[in-house]
C-alpha cells in the first residue's frame, strides 16, 4: 500500500506540473485530493492494515497530502500569474499616440516681466503701488521739474485729453503721489501703463513702465547703482553686468542711462546690441532737489533715487520679439508661446 501511495504521489505531482490552466489543476486536485480522490480513498482503506502499521502509514499519507497541496498551490500561483500576464498583454495599447490634450493657459509676456520685477523688488522690501493713467499735467510734468514749454516735453509725445489732463507719458507721476501722501523712508515700485503718440516696430502708443523710488536719509548714487546691479542679475542672470552712462531727465540730478551686458551675446557684440555688447534698458538718477522741495521734503535732510524701466523692451529682449506691436495684437499663436 505504501508503494501505492508513492505511485499516487508521482502521478499527482506529474498531473500538477502538467496542468496548463487553473481548471486542469483543479481537476487534478479533485482527482487526487478530493473527497473521492485517490489519496483520500487510500487513507480510508487504511483499516486493511495491521494496527501497528497504521500510524506510520497515516503519517506517510498526510505528508504526501501536504506535499501535494503545496505543489498544487505553487502551481496555481504560477498559472494565475501567467494567465494574468497573458490577459494584460492582450490589453496593450499604442502608447505612442499623443495624450489627451489639456489646454495650457499663459500669462501675457508683459505680465510675466512685471511679476518677475515685482518679486525681485518685494524681496528687497519695496511696496508695490499703483497710480492713475489719466493724469494731471501737474503730476506728469510740472511737479517733475518740467514746466510748460520746457524742451524736455518734446522728448515725449504726449496724448492730451484736455488742457490739463493727459494720458500719463511715464510712471514717474506715481513718485509725486507717493511723496505727497507719505513721509520718508519711501521704497516703492510702480508698474503700469503709459502712453506716447508714437508707433513703429520699437514704439507703441501704449506700453508699460516700472517706476522705482527710494527716499531716506543717506540714500546715494552708489546705492542706486548697487540696487540696479542686483536687479539686473536677478532679471537676466548672475553674470549680467551693468553700465551707467550720464544722461538727462529733468527730475533727476545726476541722471544716468543704464545698460546691461547684452543678454544674447553676453557682451561680446552681436546684431541685437548693435555690436556694442550693451543694451539700454532703463533710466535712473538721484531725485532732483527741486522735486523734493515741491513735495515738501527737505533736500538737506533726505536724498533719494528713482528709476524707470521699459517693460516691453525687456520682454522683447528676453523673448527675442522683433516688433512691439505683436504684444498688443493678441494673436493666440503669439500668446501661447510664453509658457512659464
Amino acid at each position: 500500500m505504501q508503494t501505492k501511495v508513492q505511485e499516487i504521489r508521482t502521478a499527482a505531482l506529474e498531473a500538477c506540473s502538467r496542468a496548463s490552466t487553473v481548471q486542469e489543476l483543479n481537476q487534478a486536485r479533485v482527482k487526487f485530493l478530493g473527497k473521492k480522490g485517490e489519496l483520500t480513498l487510500i487513507l480510508r482503506s487504511m483499516g486493511q492494515l495491521p494496527s501497528e502499521e497504521r500510524p506510520l502509514f497515516g503519517k506517510l499519507v498526510n505528508e504526501v497530502r501536504d506535499e501535494l497541496e503545496q505543489a498544487i498551490q505553487g502551481r496555481e500561483q504560477e498559472l494565475a500569474a501567467a494567465e494574468e500576464q497573458e490577459r494584460l498583454l492582450g490589453e496593450s495599447i499604442d502608447i505612442t499616440l499623443p495624450g489627451r490634450r489639456v489646454a495650457r493657459g499663459t500669462l501675457h509676456p508683459v505680465t510675466q516681466i512685471i511679476n518677475e520685477a515685482k518679486s525681485i523688488f518685494m524681496e528687497m522690501g519695496y511696496e508695490i503701488v499703483e497710480g492713475p493713467e489719466v493724469e494731471w499735467d501737474y503730476y506728469n510734468f510740472e511737479a517733475l521739474n518740467i514746466p510748460p514749454d520746457h524742451p524736455a516735453r518734446d522728448m515725449q509725445d504726449t496724448f492730451f485729453i484736455t488742457e490739463e489732463l493727459l494720458l500719463r507719458s511715464q510712471t514717474s507721476p506715481v513718485q509725486i503721489h507717493t511723496m505727497e501722501k507719505q513721509q520718508p523712508p519711501i521704497r516703492i515700485l510702480a508698474p503700469g501703463k503709459v502712453y506716447r503718440a508714437d508707433s513703429d516696430v520699437t514704439h507703441s502708443p501704449m506700453f508699460h513702465q516700472i517706476e522705482g523710488l527710494v527716499v531716506d536719509k543717506g540714500i546715494t548714487f552708489a546705492d542706486l547703482k548697487g540696487t540696479l546691479q542686483l536687479f539686473a542679475e536677478r532679471m537676466f542672470g548672475p553674470e549680467t553686468k551693468i553700465r551707467l552712462r550720464p544722461s538727462y531727465f529733468p527730475f533727476t540730478e545726476p541722471s544716468a542711462e543704464v545698460d546691461v551686458s547684452c543678454i544674447i551675446c553676453k557682451g561680446t557684440g552681436c546684431r541685437v546690441c548693435s555690436e556694442t555688447g550693451w543694451l539700454e534698458i532703463l533710466g535712473a538718477g538721484m531725485v532732483d532737489p527741486r522735486v523734493l522741495i515741491k513735495v515738501g521734503y527737505d533736500p538737506e535732510e533726505v536724498t533719494g533715487f528713482a528709476f524707470g524701466v521699459g517693460v516691453e523692451r525687456m520682454a522683447m529682449l528676453k523673448y527675442g520679439i522683433n516688433d512691439i506691436r505683436l504684444l498688443f495684437e493678441n494673436d493666440v499663436r503669439f500668446l501661447e508661446q510664453f509658457t512659464s
Binding site: 493713467e133 489719466v134 496724448f159
Partner: protein, 795 residues
C-alpha cells in the same frame, strides 16, 4: 548733431580715433548713436587728366576722352558732359566703382565705342546737387590720386544725441569743449579778425528793439561790396557733412558759423530793407509774411518778428523772409546775431508748424553773451570769402546783464549724494576744464561761477552731475540702501488681481492685452447706449481715440483677428482699466479695473481622444463659477445686456449689486466685429468683487458615517429653470442634503416635444448612519415639490 571728426580737430586735439572718441563722449553723457563715413562709395574713383577729346563718330553730344589716371593707367572714356575739355583735372570712376547714387561702373560700349569708366559730376559722386556737367577739379592735383584722400572725403561723422538741457553742445565748439574737459586739452578758438571801414555802422542804419523780454539782445553788423558766389569747396563739404545744403557764400558762412559756435545768424539783403533800418517787435494782428520756403505765414501778436520800417522781414529765430533773402545780386548785407526768448521761439515754431536749425537752437536757450563772437567770426569769413567791406563797430542792443550764477559747493555734499568721496583736486580740475570758475572758500568747499553758456546749471546737484559725468560713473561703487526696515509687499487688491490671472491661466486661457483706447464708435458697435467716451485730442489713428468703457471691444477685435487668421480656438482673458468720466472732463475719470473673458471656436484643439465640439454658454459659465468664490450672497440671475443674445445670457449679483454679465455675443455685435459663428464673452467688475476673495477657508470635519445617494429623473416643460429647481430641492432637502447635481439633461425621443428630462443626483450625509426610511421621506417631499412648482412628472 552731426560732428565731423576732422573738423572737430580744428578746435581741440583729439588723442583718440573716431571709435574711441564716440565711446568717451557717450560715457560723458553725449551719446554717439552712429559713425558714418562722410562720403561713402568713392572706392575706385581717382583724379584724372583729360589729355585729349575726340568727337564721337555716332553721336553729336558725346566725346571720346583719353584720360590719364596716373598709376591706374590711361583710359578711353565716352563722356556726354557739355563742359568736358582737354587739360581738365576730373574725377574718374573706373570699372568696379560702386557710386553712392547706386551706379555700378563697368567697361561698356557706348554706340560702338568702348568706354572704360565714367567722368563724374558732383551729383554722381553724392557730393552735391550739380549735375549739369562734370566736376572740374583744381589743376594742381596729381592724376591717380584716390579721390577720398582729397578734401577730407575720408572723414567720418559722429551722430551725437544732445539732451534738451545742453544746447551749448549743439555746436562744434561745444563738443570740442567737452573733449577738452575729457582730455585736459585746450580749446582753440577760430579767427575773428577783419579790417573795417572808417564809417561807423551807426551812420548807415539803426536797430530798434521794442520788446526786450522777447529779444534781450540784438547785434547787427553791416557790410557792403559783397561778391556773391559759391563758398569754398571745403566749407561746402563740411556743411554737407553736418547735414546742411550749401547755397551761396553768404548763407553758407552764416550756417557754418552757426554750426561752429551754436549761435544762429541771419543775413538780410540790406538794400531790400525799407528805410534801411531794423525794428524788432511783436507781429501785428493780420500781418503775413512769405518765409524762405515760399510759404505765406499768418502772424499773430505772440510772435516776434524782425522788420524794416514797414513790414516783417524775418520770424525771429525761426526763419527769414523771402523778399529780404540774400541772392546772387545782393551787394550789402546786414548780419543779425541775436538772443531771443526760448519760450517765444518755441511757441512760434509750434504755432506755425515750422522748425529750423535756428529754432532748434533758440528754443533750448542760446548764450546771449555769444552774439558778438559769432558776428565777428562770420564777418572774418565774409571778408575772406566774399570780400566784404565792413562798417566799423556793431549795433548792440542789449538788456543782458552781467549777473552770473554762483553756487556754493561742499565736498561733503558730493559724498552725501554720490556715496563715494571724490578728491577735492579732481573736483576743481573737472569744473575748471568745463570753464566754471572755482573759488575755494574753505578746505571743504568752493563758490563756483557758472559760465554763461551753461544756463542749465543752477544748483549744487547740477554741479555734482558735471563732476561725476566727467570723473566717470564707472568709478561709483555698488552699494545697497542700508537702514531701511523691510515692509515690502503689495495690496490685497493686487493680490486678488494676480490670483484671478492664475485661476484663468490654470483653466487654459491666454492672457491678452489690448490698447486702452479704441474706436469712438465702440459703444455703438456693442449695441449700447452711445454714452460718449473720453477722447484724446491728438490721436495717431482712428482706431486709437476713445478711452474704453469696456474690455469687450479689445477682446472681440482679438477674436476677429484670430478667426480671420485661420485660428480655430480662441480662449482669452484680459485684466485692465476702463475709464468713466463726465464730459467735458474736468476731473480725473474713474479708472475701474475689469476682467473680461472671450471664448470662440473649438473647446479643445483637435485630438483623437476628444470629440470636436465648439465652446458653448456653459463653458463660459463654468469659468465664472471657477473664478468667483462660492458665497451665499452671490446671485446668478438672468441678464439684459444689449450686447448679448437675449436668450443666452446671465448676470451675477453680489449683495444685490450687479458684478458681472456673461453670455453669447449678439449676432449683430459679432457682425460688427467681423466674427464668424458664435462667441461667448463675460465682463466682471473687478472693483466690486474684491472682498469676495477676502475669505480664509475653514476646515470642515470629514464625515465619519457613510453617505446615501439617490437619483431622481423628472420630465418638465422645456422653459422650466433647472437652476430654480435646484434651489427648491436644497430648500426641501433639509440639512441632511449635502449636494444636488444635474447628471443628465435629455431632449428628444421618447420625451414629448417641448419637454426635457432632467436627472438629479442627491447626496445625503449626517453625523449618524441614515436610514432608508428617513431618506425616502425626504425624496418624496422633493418630488412633490417639483410636481407642484414645476409641473414635473417622474420619468
Amino acid at each position: 548733431m552731426l560732428v565731423s571728426y576732422r573738423w572737430l580737430q580744428e578746435y581741440v586735439d583729439v588723442p583718440w580715433g573716431p571709435q574711441e572718441l564716440a565711446e568717451r563722449l557717450t560715457m560723458a553723457g553725449l551719446e554717439v548713436e552712429g559713425i558714418e563715413p562722410v562720403a561713402p562709395g568713392l572706392d575706385r574713383v581717382y583724379v584724372g587728366l583729360v589729355e585729349e577729346t575726340v568727337a564721337h563718330p555716332h553721336a553729336d553730344k558725346l566725346k571720346i576722352c583719353s584720360v590719364d589716371v596716373g598709376d591706374q593707367g590711361r583710359h578711353s572714356i565716352v563722356c556726354g558732359a557739355p563742359n568736358v575739355a582737354m587739360g581738365q583735372k576730373v574725377a574718374v570712376a573706373l570699372p568696379g566703382a560702386s557710386l553712392p547714387i547706386g551706379l555700378e561702373i563697368a567697361s561698356t560700349i557706348i554706340r560702338e565705342v568702348p568706354s572704360a569708366g565714367m567722368i563724374c559730376s558732383l551729383a554722381e559722386l553724392g557730393l552735391g546737387e550739380d549735375e549739369t556737367g562734370i566736376w572740374v577739379l583744381p589743376a594742381d592735383l596729381i592724376p591717380g590720386t584716390p579721390l577720398v584722400e582729397l578734401f577730407d572725403l575720408d572723414d567720418v561723422v559722429l551722430d551725437v544725441s544732445i539732451y534738451a538741457n545742453r544746447p551749448d553742445c549743439m555746436s562744434m565748439l561745444g563738443i570740442a569743449r567737452e573733449v577738452a574737459a575729457l582730455t585736459g586739452g585746450r580749446l582753440r578758438f577760430p579767427a575773428t579778425d577783419y579790417e573795417v571801414l572808417d564809417t561807423p555802422i551807426t551812420e548807415r542804419t539803426s536797430v530798434s528793439v521794442e520788446d526786450q523780454t522777447l529779444c534781450p539782445r540784438y547785434t547787427a553788423t553791416l557790410m557792403e561790396q559783397i561778391q556773391m558766389g559759391e563758398s569754398p569747396l571745403w566749407m561746402q563739404f563740411r556743411l554737407r557733412a553736418a547735414g546742411m545744403r550749401p547755397i551761396n557764400n553768404v548763407v553758407d558762412i552764416t550756417n557754418y558759423v552757426m554750426l561752429e559756435t551754436g549761435h544762429p545768424l541771419h543775413a538780410f539783403d540790406f538794400e531790400k530793407l525799407a528805410e534801411q533800418r531794423v525794428v524788432v517787435r511783436p507781429a501785428r494782428p493780420g500781418e503775413t509774411m512769405i518765409t524762405l520756403d515760399g510759404e505765406s505765414r499768418s502772424l499773430t501778436p505772440e510772435m516776434l518778428v524782425i522788420c524794416d520800417a514797414r513790414n516783417p522781414k524775418c520770424i525771429a529765430g525761426v526763419m527769414g523772409g523771402l523778399d529780404s533773402e540774400v541772392t546772387e545780386s545782393s551787394t550789402s548785407i546786414l548780419l543779425e546775431a541775436a538772443s531771443f526768448s526760448a519760450l517765444s521761439v518755441r511757441r512760434t515754431s509750434r504755432a506755425l508748424g515750422l522748425s529750423s536749425e535756428s529754432s532748434a537752437r533758440f528754443e533750448k536757450g542760446i548764450d546771449p553773451h555769444g552774439t558778438v563772437f559769432a558776428s565777428q567770426r562770420a564777418t572774418h569769413l565774409l571778408q575772406t570769402y566774399a570780400h566784404a567791406k565792413v562798417f566799423a563797430g556793431h549795433i548792440d542792443q542789449s538788456a543782458v546783464g552781467n549777473q552770473q550764477t554762483k553756487i556754493e559747493l561742499k565736498l561733503q555734499e558730493i559724498d552725501r549724494l554720490l556715496g563715494v568721496p571724490v578728491p577735492g583736486t579732481t573736483v576743481v580740475e573737472i569744473l575748471e576744464a568745463l570753464e566754471f570758475q572755482v573759488q575755494e572758500t574753505s578746505e571743504e568747499g568752493w563758490v563756483v561761477t557758472v559760465p554763461s553758456h551753461r544756463g542749465d546749471v543752477e544748483i549744487a546737484a547740477d554741479l555734482i552731475e558735471e563732476i561725476v559725468r566727467i570723473w566717470g560713473l564707472e568709478n561709483l561703487p555698488s552699494t545697497l540702501p542700508g537702514n531701511l526696515v523691510g515692509t515690502g509687499g503689495q495690496s490685497p487688491r493686487l493680490n486678488v488681481m494676480d490670483h484671478i490671472r492664475e485661476v484663468l491661466v490654470g483653466a487654459g486661457l491666454q492672457e491678452a492685452m489690448s490698447y486702452s483706447f479704441g474706436r469712438s464708435d465702440n459703444n455703438e458697435r456693442l449695441l449700447r447706449d452711445n454714452q460718449p467716451m473720453i477722447e484724446v485730442q491728438n490721436p495717431i489713428s482712428e482706431d486709437l481715440v476713445a478711452l474704453r468703457h469696456s474690455l469687450l471691444p479689445g477682446l472681440l477685435t482679438a477674436t476677429s483677428l484670430n478667426a480671420n487668421r485661420q485660428q480655430r480656438r480662441v480662449a482669452i482673458f484680459e485684466v485692465g482699466a476702463t475709464y468713466l468720466g463726465k464730459l467735458p472732463l474736468t476731473q480725473q475719470p474713474k479708472e475701474e479695473c475689469k476682467v473680461a473673458i472671450a471664448l470662440w471656436g473649438l473647446r479643445s484643439m483637435p485630438n483623437w481622444a476628444l470629440t470636436e465640439e465648439n465652446f458653448d454658454f456653459y463653458d463660459l459659465k463654468g469659468l465664472l463659477e471657477l473664478m468667483l468664490p462660492k458665497a451665499s450672497d452671490l446671485e446668478w440671475t438672468t441678464g439684459t445686456n444689449s450686447s448679448l443674445h437675449p436668450g443666452r445670457q446671465g448676470a451675477v449679483l453680489y449683495q444685490g449689486q450687479h458684478i458681472a454679465y456673461y453670455g453669447e455675443v449678439h449676432p449683430a455685435v459679432a457682425r460688427n466685429f467681423r466674427i464668424p459663428g458664435r462667441a461667448y464673452v463675460a465682463e466682471i467688475d473687478f472693483e466690486k468683487i474684491l472682498d469676495l476673495y477676502d475669505v480664509t477657508p475653514v476646515y470642515q470635519n470629514l464625515p465619519r458615517y457613510p453617505a446615501m445617494e439617490r437619483d431622481l429623473a423628472v420630465i418638465v416643460d422645456h422653459n422650466q429653470s433647472v437652476g430654480e429647481m435646484i434651489t427648491k430641492l436644497y430648500k426641501l432637502g433639509g440639512e441632511l442634503l449635502q449636494e444636488v447635481t444635474v447628471f443628465d439633461l435629455y431632449i428628444g425621443k421618447p420625451i414629448p416635444d417641448g419637454k426635457k428630462s432632467v436627472a438629479f443626483s442627491f447626496r445625503f450625509q449626517g453625523d449618524r448612519t441614515l436610514t432608508d426610511d428617513e431618506i425616502n421621506l425626504i425624496m418624496d417631499r422633493c418630488l412633490q415639490g417639483l410636481q407642484k412648482d414645476f409641473d414635473a412628472e417622474i420619468r
